[in-house]
Protein backbone atom coordinates (compact mmCIF):
# COMPACT_ATOMS: atom_id res chain seq x y z
CA UNK A 1 0.00 0.00 0.00
CA UNK A 2 1.38 3.40 -0.97
CA UNK A 3 1.10 6.14 1.62
CA UNK A 4 2.43 9.66 1.96
CA UNK A 5 4.16 10.34 5.27
CA UNK A 6 7.28 12.00 6.64
CA UNK A 7 10.58 10.19 7.18
CA UNK A 8 10.15 9.85 10.92
CA UNK A 9 6.76 8.21 10.38
CA UNK A 10 8.37 5.84 7.86
CA UNK A 11 10.86 4.79 10.53
CA UNK A 12 8.15 4.45 13.20
CA UNK A 13 6.00 2.32 10.89
CA UNK A 14 9.03 0.11 10.22
CA UNK A 15 9.62 -0.40 13.93
CA UNK A 16 5.95 -1.24 14.45
CA UNK A 17 5.99 -3.75 11.58
CA UNK A 18 9.06 -5.36 13.14
CA UNK A 19 7.17 -5.85 16.41
CA UNK A 20 9.88 -4.35 18.63
CA UNK A 21 9.25 -5.40 22.25
CA UNK A 22 10.98 -2.57 24.10
CA UNK A 23 11.36 1.04 22.98
CA UNK A 24 13.24 3.63 25.02
CA UNK A 25 13.61 7.23 23.99
CA UNK A 26 14.46 10.72 25.07
CA UNK A 27 13.28 13.76 23.11
CA UNK A 28 15.69 15.51 20.77
CA UNK A 29 15.07 17.43 17.57
CA UNK A 30 14.71 16.20 14.81
CA UNK A 31 14.21 12.66 16.10
CA UNK A 32 11.31 13.42 18.47
CA UNK A 33 8.34 12.86 16.10
CA UNK A 34 9.58 9.31 15.42
CA UNK A 35 9.42 8.17 19.04
CA UNK A 36 6.30 10.25 19.71
CA UNK A 37 4.67 8.21 16.98
CA UNK A 38 5.81 4.99 18.65
CA UNK A 39 4.38 6.13 21.99
CA UNK A 40 1.06 6.70 20.19
CA UNK A 41 1.13 3.19 18.71
CA UNK A 42 1.89 1.69 22.11
CA UNK A 43 -0.58 3.75 24.13
CA UNK A 44 -3.41 3.20 21.64
CA UNK A 45 -2.75 -0.54 21.69
CA UNK A 46 -1.88 -0.62 17.99
CA UNK A 47 1.53 -1.94 18.95
CA UNK A 48 2.28 -4.38 21.75
CA UNK A 49 5.50 -3.09 23.27
CA UNK A 50 6.93 -1.49 26.38
CA UNK A 51 7.65 2.19 25.81
CA UNK A 52 10.06 3.70 28.34
CA UNK A 53 10.26 7.51 28.44
CA UNK A 54 13.74 7.64 29.95
CA UNK A 55 15.45 10.64 31.53
CA UNK A 56 18.42 10.71 29.10
CA UNK A 57 19.84 9.13 25.97
CA UNK A 58 22.47 7.40 28.08
CA UNK A 59 19.62 5.65 29.84
CA UNK A 60 17.77 5.04 26.56
CA UNK A 61 20.64 2.90 25.36
CA UNK A 62 20.98 1.35 28.83
CA UNK A 63 17.36 0.22 28.62
CA UNK A 64 17.97 -1.22 25.15
CA UNK A 65 21.16 -2.97 26.28
CA UNK A 66 19.43 -4.57 29.25
CA UNK A 67 16.26 -5.38 27.31
CA UNK A 68 18.25 -7.03 24.55
CA UNK A 69 20.32 -8.94 27.14
CA UNK A 70 17.05 -10.22 28.59
CA UNK A 71 15.80 -11.33 25.17
CA UNK A 72 13.75 -8.41 23.85
CA UNK A 73 13.84 -6.82 20.41
CA UNK A 74 14.89 -3.31 21.38
CA UNK A 75 14.76 0.02 19.57
CA UNK A 76 15.73 3.60 20.24
CA UNK A 77 16.35 6.70 18.17
CA UNK A 78 18.30 9.87 18.67
CA UNK A 79 20.18 12.73 17.05
CA UNK A 80 23.28 14.86 17.52
CA UNK A 81 24.20 15.48 21.17
CA UNK A 82 21.84 12.74 22.24
CA UNK A 83 23.95 10.27 20.32
CA UNK A 84 27.13 11.78 21.71
CA UNK A 85 25.74 11.53 25.25
CA UNK A 86 25.13 7.81 24.68
CA UNK A 87 28.57 7.19 23.23
CA UNK A 88 29.75 5.02 26.12
CA UNK A 89 26.61 2.91 25.81
CA UNK A 90 26.95 2.69 22.04
CA UNK A 91 30.36 1.08 22.45
CA UNK A 92 28.96 -1.18 25.18
CA UNK A 93 26.11 -2.48 22.99
CA UNK A 94 28.56 -3.54 20.30
CA UNK A 95 31.00 -5.17 22.72
CA UNK A 96 28.10 -7.07 24.31
CA UNK A 97 26.99 -8.12 20.79
CA UNK A 98 23.39 -7.00 21.20
CA UNK A 99 21.24 -6.65 18.06
CA UNK A 100 19.73 -3.27 18.96
CA UNK A 101 18.45 -1.10 16.12
CA UNK A 102 18.71 2.67 16.49
CA UNK A 103 17.63 5.36 14.09
CA UNK A 104 20.02 8.29 13.98
CA UNK A 105 18.23 11.31 12.56
CA UNK A 106 21.32 13.18 11.47
CA UNK A 107 21.90 16.61 13.00
CA UNK A 108 24.87 18.89 13.63
CA UNK A 109 26.56 18.63 17.04
CA UNK A 110 27.31 21.48 19.45
CA UNK A 111 29.01 23.79 20.15
CA UNK A 112 27.54 26.08 19.09
CA UNK A 113 23.98 24.80 19.33
CA UNK A 114 22.47 23.98 15.97
CA UNK A 115 19.45 21.78 15.31
CA UNK A 116 19.84 21.49 11.55
CA UNK A 117 21.19 18.66 9.45
CA UNK A 118 24.67 17.39 8.89
CA UNK A 119 26.17 13.96 9.61
CA UNK A 120 28.84 14.76 12.18
CA UNK A 121 26.85 12.86 14.84
CA UNK A 122 26.76 9.40 13.28
CA UNK A 123 30.13 9.73 11.55
CA UNK A 124 31.69 10.41 14.96
CA UNK A 125 30.36 6.97 16.02
CA UNK A 126 32.06 5.23 13.11
CA UNK A 127 34.52 3.25 15.23
CA UNK A 128 32.09 1.91 17.83
CA UNK A 129 31.57 -1.53 16.28
CA UNK A 130 28.07 -0.83 14.99
CA UNK A 131 26.79 -1.39 11.49
CA UNK A 132 25.83 1.93 9.91
CA UNK A 133 23.27 2.18 7.11
CA UNK A 134 22.48 5.48 5.38
CA UNK A 135 19.14 6.22 3.70
CA UNK A 136 18.43 8.53 0.77
CA UNK A 137 14.62 8.49 0.82
CA UNK A 138 11.61 7.34 2.86
CA UNK A 139 11.34 3.96 1.15
CA UNK A 140 14.93 3.27 2.13
CA UNK A 141 14.19 4.36 5.71
CA UNK A 142 11.34 1.89 6.26
CA UNK A 143 13.02 -0.89 4.30
CA UNK A 144 16.35 -0.34 6.10
CA UNK A 145 14.68 -0.56 9.52
CA UNK A 146 13.14 -3.91 8.58
CA UNK A 147 16.37 -5.25 7.07
CA UNK A 148 18.33 -3.90 10.05
CA UNK A 149 16.46 -5.99 12.62
CA UNK A 150 16.99 -9.13 10.53
CA UNK A 151 20.66 -8.46 9.92
CA UNK A 152 21.42 -7.33 13.49
CA UNK A 153 19.85 -10.47 14.96
CA UNK A 154 21.60 -12.69 12.39
CA UNK A 155 25.08 -11.37 13.21
CA UNK A 156 24.55 -10.19 16.82
CA UNK A 157 25.74 -6.69 16.03
CA UNK A 158 23.76 -3.47 16.62
CA UNK A 159 22.77 -1.26 13.69
CA UNK A 160 22.30 2.47 13.22
CA UNK A 161 19.85 3.41 10.50
CA UNK A 162 20.89 6.97 9.63
CA UNK A 163 18.82 9.50 7.74
CA UNK A 164 19.08 13.24 7.32
CA UNK A 165 17.29 15.41 9.85
CA UNK A 166 14.52 17.63 8.41
CA UNK A 167 15.50 16.88 4.79
CA UNK A 168 14.09 13.37 5.25
CA UNK A 169 12.69 13.31 8.78
CA UNK A 170 10.24 16.16 8.29
CA UNK A 171 9.47 16.04 4.56
CA UNK A 172 6.57 14.08 3.10
CA UNK A 173 7.10 11.53 0.38
CA UNK A 174 5.10 8.62 -1.03
CA UNK A 175 6.40 5.16 -0.20
CA UNK A 176 5.19 1.62 -0.09
CA UNK A 177 4.10 0.43 3.35
CA UNK A 178 4.98 -3.28 3.53
CA UNK A 179 2.27 -5.75 4.56
CA UNK A 180 2.52 -7.05 8.12
CA UNK A 181 2.30 -10.68 6.89
CA UNK A 182 5.24 -10.14 4.57
CA UNK A 183 7.30 -8.51 7.30
CA UNK A 184 6.49 -11.42 9.60
CA UNK A 185 7.61 -13.81 6.88
CA UNK A 186 10.84 -11.87 6.46
CA UNK A 187 11.59 -11.30 10.14
CA UNK A 188 11.07 -14.19 12.59
CA UNK A 189 10.74 -13.43 16.34
CA UNK A 190 14.03 -12.66 18.12
CA UNK A 191 15.65 -15.79 19.51
CA UNK A 192 18.85 -14.81 21.33
CA UNK A 193 21.63 -17.31 22.01
CA UNK A 194 21.27 -16.41 25.69
CA UNK A 195 18.85 -14.28 27.67
CA UNK A 196 19.20 -13.41 31.35
CA UNK A 197 17.38 -16.10 33.24
CA UNK A 198 17.50 -17.38 36.84
CA UNK A 199 17.20 -20.97 35.61
CA UNK A 200 20.39 -20.62 33.60
CA UNK A 201 22.37 -17.98 35.48
CA UNK A 202 25.24 -16.19 33.82
CA UNK A 203 27.04 -12.98 34.57
CA UNK A 204 27.35 -10.87 31.42
CA UNK A 205 30.04 -8.33 30.54
CA UNK A 206 32.17 -9.20 33.55
CA UNK A 207 35.70 -7.88 33.74
CA UNK A 208 37.70 -9.73 31.10
CA UNK A 209 41.44 -10.19 31.38
CA UNK A 210 44.12 -9.32 28.84
CA UNK A 211 44.86 -13.03 28.44
CA UNK A 212 42.78 -16.19 27.97
CA UNK A 213 41.56 -18.09 31.05
CA UNK A 214 40.09 -21.53 31.87
CA UNK A 215 36.34 -21.59 32.53
CA UNK A 216 34.44 -23.63 35.15
CA UNK A 217 34.20 -26.59 32.75
CA UNK A 218 37.96 -26.61 32.11
CA UNK A 219 37.67 -25.07 28.65
CA UNK A 220 39.90 -22.25 27.55
CA UNK A 221 37.86 -19.05 27.25
CA UNK A 222 38.68 -15.86 25.38
CA UNK A 223 40.60 -12.90 26.68
CA UNK A 224 39.39 -9.37 25.98
CA UNK A 225 41.37 -9.32 22.75
CA UNK A 226 39.69 -12.43 21.32
CA UNK A 227 36.24 -11.03 22.09
CA UNK A 228 37.11 -7.78 20.35
CA UNK A 229 38.71 -9.60 17.40
CA UNK A 230 35.51 -11.59 16.90
CA UNK A 231 33.54 -8.36 16.73
CA UNK A 232 35.79 -7.10 13.94
CA UNK A 233 35.80 -10.45 12.12
CA UNK A 234 32.03 -10.77 12.24
CA UNK A 235 31.48 -7.14 11.32
CA UNK A 236 33.51 -7.72 8.18
CA UNK A 237 31.63 -10.95 7.49
CA UNK A 238 28.31 -9.17 7.98
CA UNK A 239 28.70 -7.60 4.52
CA UNK A 240 27.92 -10.98 2.99
CA UNK A 241 24.99 -11.42 5.40
CA UNK A 242 23.70 -7.99 4.36
CA UNK A 243 23.65 -9.21 0.76
CA UNK A 244 21.65 -12.23 1.93
CA UNK A 245 19.25 -9.88 3.73
CA UNK A 246 18.84 -7.85 0.57
CA UNK A 247 18.22 -10.98 -1.51
CA UNK A 248 15.54 -12.27 0.87
CA UNK A 249 13.99 -8.84 1.06
CA UNK A 250 13.87 -8.57 -2.74
CA UNK A 251 12.22 -11.99 -2.99
CA UNK A 252 9.50 -11.07 -0.53
CA UNK A 253 8.93 -7.39 -1.27
CA UNK A 254 10.02 -7.12 -4.89
CA UNK A 255 12.53 -4.32 -4.38
CA UNK A 256 16.22 -4.26 -3.56
CA UNK A 257 19.52 -5.03 -5.25
CA UNK A 258 22.80 -3.19 -4.69
CA UNK A 259 22.92 -3.75 -0.93
CA UNK A 260 26.12 -1.76 -0.35
CA UNK A 261 26.20 1.00 -2.92
CA UNK A 262 23.67 2.72 -5.10
CA UNK A 263 25.24 3.76 -8.44
CA UNK A 264 23.53 6.20 -10.80
CA UNK A 265 24.79 6.69 -14.37
CA UNK A 266 28.15 5.30 -13.29
CA UNK A 267 28.80 2.66 -15.98
CA UNK A 268 30.32 4.92 -18.63
CA UNK A 269 31.25 7.80 -16.34
CA UNK A 270 34.78 9.17 -16.07
CA UNK A 271 34.10 10.89 -12.77
CA UNK A 272 31.98 9.65 -9.90
CA UNK A 273 30.52 11.74 -7.13
CA UNK A 274 30.26 9.81 -3.84
CA UNK A 275 28.27 10.56 -0.70
CA UNK A 276 25.98 9.35 2.06
CA UNK A 277 22.25 9.90 2.41
CA UNK A 278 19.88 12.32 0.72
CA UNK A 279 22.71 14.39 -0.74
CA UNK A 280 23.38 11.62 -3.26
CA UNK A 281 19.86 11.98 -4.67
CA UNK A 282 20.36 15.73 -4.97
CA UNK A 283 23.62 15.02 -6.80
CA UNK A 284 21.65 13.02 -9.36
CA UNK A 285 20.10 16.29 -10.53
CA UNK A 286 23.59 17.76 -11.03
CA UNK A 287 24.72 14.62 -12.83
CA UNK A 288 21.75 14.83 -15.22
CA UNK A 289 22.54 18.49 -15.92
CA UNK A 290 26.23 17.80 -16.58
CA UNK A 291 25.41 14.82 -18.77
CA UNK A 292 23.47 17.24 -21.00
CA UNK A 293 26.71 19.22 -21.31
CA UNK A 294 28.46 16.05 -22.39
CA UNK A 295 30.36 15.59 -19.13
CA UNK A 296 30.47 11.91 -18.29
CA UNK A 297 29.74 11.90 -14.60
CA UNK A 298 27.80 9.61 -12.28
CA UNK A 299 26.97 9.42 -8.61
CA UNK A 300 27.34 6.61 -6.11
CA UNK A 301 25.50 6.55 -2.81
CA UNK A 302 27.03 4.44 -0.06
CA UNK A 303 24.38 2.60 1.92
CA UNK A 304 26.67 0.71 4.29
CA UNK A 305 29.36 2.86 5.82
CA UNK A 306 30.37 0.32 8.48
CA UNK A 307 31.32 -2.34 7.70
CA UNK A 308 32.90 -0.45 4.83
CA UNK A 309 32.14 -2.17 1.49
CA UNK A 310 35.65 -1.40 0.28
CA UNK A 311 35.75 -4.04 -2.43
CA UNK A 312 32.38 -3.14 -3.95
CA UNK A 313 33.35 0.53 -3.90
CA UNK A 314 36.78 -0.03 -5.43
CA UNK A 315 35.31 -2.26 -8.14
CA UNK A 316 32.75 0.38 -9.01
CA UNK A 317 35.46 3.03 -9.23
CA UNK A 318 37.95 0.94 -11.19
CA UNK A 319 39.16 2.72 -14.31
CA UNK A 320 37.55 6.03 -13.35
CA UNK A 321 39.56 9.23 -13.70
CA UNK A 322 38.27 10.94 -10.61
CA UNK A 323 36.24 10.44 -7.49
CA UNK A 324 34.58 13.47 -5.93
CA UNK A 325 33.54 12.86 -2.34
CA UNK A 326 30.85 15.08 -0.84
CA UNK A 327 30.48 14.96 2.93
CA UNK A 328 28.38 16.55 5.65
CA UNK A 329 30.98 15.73 8.29
CA UNK A 330 34.67 16.07 8.88
CA UNK A 331 37.42 14.36 10.78
CA UNK A 332 38.61 17.65 12.20
CA UNK A 333 42.29 18.19 11.65
CA UNK A 334 42.37 16.19 8.43
CA UNK A 335 39.58 15.55 5.93
CA UNK A 336 36.20 13.91 5.55
CA UNK A 337 36.20 10.43 7.09
CA UNK A 338 34.52 8.97 4.02
CA UNK A 339 37.19 10.45 1.74
CA UNK A 340 39.92 8.86 3.87
CA UNK A 341 38.16 5.50 3.90
CA UNK A 342 37.57 5.63 0.19
CA UNK A 343 41.21 6.43 -0.58
CA UNK A 344 42.21 3.53 1.61
CA UNK A 345 39.89 1.19 -0.33
CA UNK A 346 41.22 2.41 -3.66
CA UNK A 347 44.81 1.95 -2.53
CA UNK A 348 44.08 -1.55 -1.27
CA UNK A 349 42.26 -2.79 -4.35
CA UNK A 350 43.55 -0.68 -7.25
CA UNK A 351 47.16 0.23 -6.40
CA UNK A 352 48.28 -2.88 -8.25
CA UNK A 353 46.56 -1.73 -11.44
CA UNK A 354 48.81 1.32 -11.58
CA UNK A 355 45.75 3.52 -12.11
CA UNK A 356 44.33 5.17 -9.05
CA UNK A 357 41.52 7.69 -9.56
CA UNK A 358 42.17 11.19 -8.26
CA UNK A 359 40.13 11.75 -5.07
CA UNK A 360 38.82 15.20 -4.19
CA UNK A 361 36.92 16.00 -1.04
CA UNK A 362 34.16 18.59 -0.60
CA UNK A 363 32.45 19.47 2.66
CA UNK A 364 28.89 20.75 2.36
CA UNK A 365 25.80 21.51 4.39
CA UNK A 366 27.52 21.75 7.77
CA UNK A 367 24.99 22.76 10.41
CA UNK A 368 22.20 22.78 7.85
CA UNK A 369 23.78 25.35 5.51
CA UNK A 370 21.67 25.15 2.39
CA UNK A 371 23.21 23.02 -0.33
CA UNK A 372 22.17 24.59 -3.62
CA UNK A 373 21.99 22.17 -6.51
CA UNK A 374 23.62 24.79 -8.74
CA UNK A 375 26.59 24.90 -6.38
CA UNK A 376 26.88 21.11 -6.51
CA UNK A 377 26.71 21.18 -10.32
CA UNK A 378 29.38 23.86 -10.54
CA UNK A 379 31.65 22.10 -8.08
CA UNK A 380 31.23 18.81 -9.87
CA UNK A 381 31.90 20.42 -13.25
CA UNK A 382 35.05 22.13 -12.00
CA UNK A 383 36.29 19.00 -10.22
CA UNK A 384 35.99 16.96 -13.42
CA UNK A 385 38.18 19.50 -15.19
CA UNK A 386 41.03 19.97 -12.76
CA UNK A 387 42.14 19.38 -9.22
CA UNK A 388 40.53 22.19 -7.26
CA UNK A 389 42.41 21.85 -4.01
CA UNK A 390 44.41 19.34 -2.04
CA UNK A 391 42.66 20.13 1.23
CA UNK A 392 38.96 19.38 1.64
CA UNK A 393 37.07 22.28 0.12
CA UNK A 394 33.99 23.70 1.83
CA UNK A 395 31.08 24.47 -0.49
CA UNK A 396 28.98 27.54 0.21
CA UNK A 397 31.34 28.97 2.80
CA UNK A 398 30.89 32.72 3.17
CA UNK A 399 34.18 33.70 4.82
Amino acid sequence: MHIIEDGNAAAALGVKLCRANVIAAYPITPQTPLTEKLSEYVESGEMKAEYIPVESEHSAMAVCIAASSAGARAFTATSANGLLYMHEQVQWAAGARLPIVMCVVNRAVGAPWNVWNDQQDSISQRDTGWIQMYCADHQQIIDSVIKAFWLAEKVSIPIMVCYDGFLLSHTFMPFDLPDQEKVDAFLPPFRPAYALNPDEPASLNTVTLPDVRIDVHGELAHGYMEIRYLLQEELRASLAVAAEADKRFTEIFGRGGDPYIEPYRCDDADHIAVGLGSLTYQLRVSVDALRKEGIKVGVMGIRFYRPFPDEAIANALKGKKGVIVFEKALSYGYEGALASDLKSALYEHLAGTGRLPLVQNFIAGIGGREIRTDDLTQTLRAATQSRIAKEPTWIGLKL
Partner: protein, 102 residues
Protein backbone atom coordinates in the same frame (compact mmCIF):
# COMPACT_ATOMS: atom_id res chain seq x y z
CA UNK B 1 45.29 -24.49 21.39
CA UNK B 2 43.40 -21.24 20.97
CA UNK B 3 39.86 -20.17 21.80
CA UNK B 4 38.52 -20.23 18.20
CA UNK B 5 35.85 -22.79 19.04
CA UNK B 6 34.88 -21.40 22.45
CA UNK B 7 31.10 -21.45 22.82
CA UNK B 8 30.70 -17.73 23.61
CA UNK B 9 31.49 -14.57 21.68
CA UNK B 10 31.13 -12.27 24.65
CA UNK B 11 32.06 -12.04 28.30
CA UNK B 12 29.60 -14.62 29.63
CA UNK B 13 30.64 -16.01 33.01
CA UNK B 14 29.32 -19.12 34.70
CA UNK B 15 29.43 -19.58 38.45
CA UNK B 16 31.95 -21.63 40.34
CA UNK B 17 34.14 -21.39 43.44
CA UNK B 18 37.53 -19.81 43.71
CA UNK B 19 37.44 -17.03 41.14
CA UNK B 20 40.09 -15.34 43.28
CA UNK B 21 42.12 -18.55 43.45
CA UNK B 22 42.77 -20.44 46.68
CA UNK B 23 42.25 -17.40 48.83
CA UNK B 24 43.37 -19.31 51.90
CA UNK B 25 46.86 -18.37 50.78
CA UNK B 26 46.03 -14.73 51.67
CA UNK B 27 45.77 -15.70 55.33
CA UNK B 28 48.17 -14.30 57.89
CA UNK B 29 46.37 -15.79 60.88
CA UNK B 30 44.39 -19.01 61.07
CA UNK B 31 41.12 -19.38 63.01
CA UNK B 32 41.23 -22.27 65.46
CA UNK B 33 38.03 -23.45 67.12
CA UNK B 34 38.01 -24.68 70.71
CA UNK B 35 35.02 -27.03 70.81
CA UNK B 36 34.96 -26.97 74.59
CA UNK B 37 33.96 -23.29 74.42
CA UNK B 38 31.76 -23.38 71.29
CA UNK B 39 28.08 -23.03 72.22
CA UNK B 40 26.53 -25.47 69.66
CA UNK B 41 29.27 -27.98 70.47
CA UNK B 42 28.73 -27.71 74.19
CA UNK B 43 24.95 -27.98 73.92
CA UNK B 44 25.15 -30.41 71.01
CA UNK B 45 22.28 -28.60 69.35
CA UNK B 46 21.72 -25.83 66.78
CA UNK B 47 22.56 -22.58 68.50
CA UNK B 48 24.55 -19.36 68.20
CA UNK B 49 26.30 -19.72 64.78
CA UNK B 50 27.31 -16.07 64.90
CA UNK B 51 30.58 -17.10 63.20
CA UNK B 52 28.55 -18.53 60.29
CA UNK B 53 26.38 -15.42 60.00
CA UNK B 54 29.21 -12.93 59.84
CA UNK B 55 31.76 -14.87 57.77
CA UNK B 56 32.33 -12.71 54.65
CA UNK B 57 33.86 -15.59 52.72
CA UNK B 58 31.19 -18.22 53.50
CA UNK B 59 33.81 -20.70 54.70
CA UNK B 60 32.22 -21.56 58.06
CA UNK B 61 29.57 -24.27 58.00
CA UNK B 62 26.41 -24.15 60.09
CA UNK B 63 27.16 -27.54 61.59
CA UNK B 64 28.14 -29.01 64.94
CA UNK B 65 31.00 -28.37 65.22
CA UNK B 66 31.25 -25.49 62.75
CA UNK B 67 33.87 -26.37 60.12
CA UNK B 68 36.17 -23.79 58.62
CA UNK B 69 37.26 -24.28 55.00
CA UNK B 70 40.90 -23.25 55.12
CA UNK B 71 41.28 -23.51 51.36
CA UNK B 72 39.37 -20.24 51.01
CA UNK B 73 39.38 -18.67 54.52
CA UNK B 74 41.20 -15.33 54.20
CA UNK B 75 41.77 -15.11 57.93
CA UNK B 76 39.94 -11.84 58.56
CA UNK B 77 39.26 -12.80 62.17
CA UNK B 78 35.66 -11.54 62.29
CA UNK B 79 34.57 -14.97 63.56
CA UNK B 80 37.06 -14.78 66.41
CA UNK B 81 36.10 -11.21 67.26
CA UNK B 82 32.35 -11.87 67.22
CA UNK B 83 32.33 -15.26 68.97
CA UNK B 84 30.55 -14.61 72.29
CA UNK B 85 32.53 -17.29 74.14
CA UNK B 86 35.89 -16.59 72.48
CA UNK B 87 35.87 -20.15 71.16
CA UNK B 88 37.78 -19.10 68.05
CA UNK B 89 41.28 -17.71 68.33
CA UNK B 90 43.51 -16.45 65.53
CA UNK B 91 46.91 -18.12 65.38
CA UNK B 92 49.86 -16.87 63.34
CA UNK B 93 50.17 -18.92 60.16
CA UNK B 94 53.92 -19.09 60.78
CA UNK B 95 53.15 -21.55 63.58
CA UNK B 96 51.62 -23.92 61.06
CA UNK B 97 54.30 -23.55 58.44
CA UNK B 98 56.81 -24.51 61.17
CA UNK B 99 54.60 -27.51 61.87
CA UNK B 100 54.48 -28.35 58.18
CA UNK B 101 58.25 -28.25 57.97
CA UNK B 102 58.73 -30.46 61.00
Amino acid sequence: MGTRNYKRKTSHSENGPGDGGRTGSWRVERPILDKSLCIPCKRNKEACFICWLFCPEIVISRTIPPKIDLEYCKGCGICAEECPTKAIIMVDEAEFSKEDKE
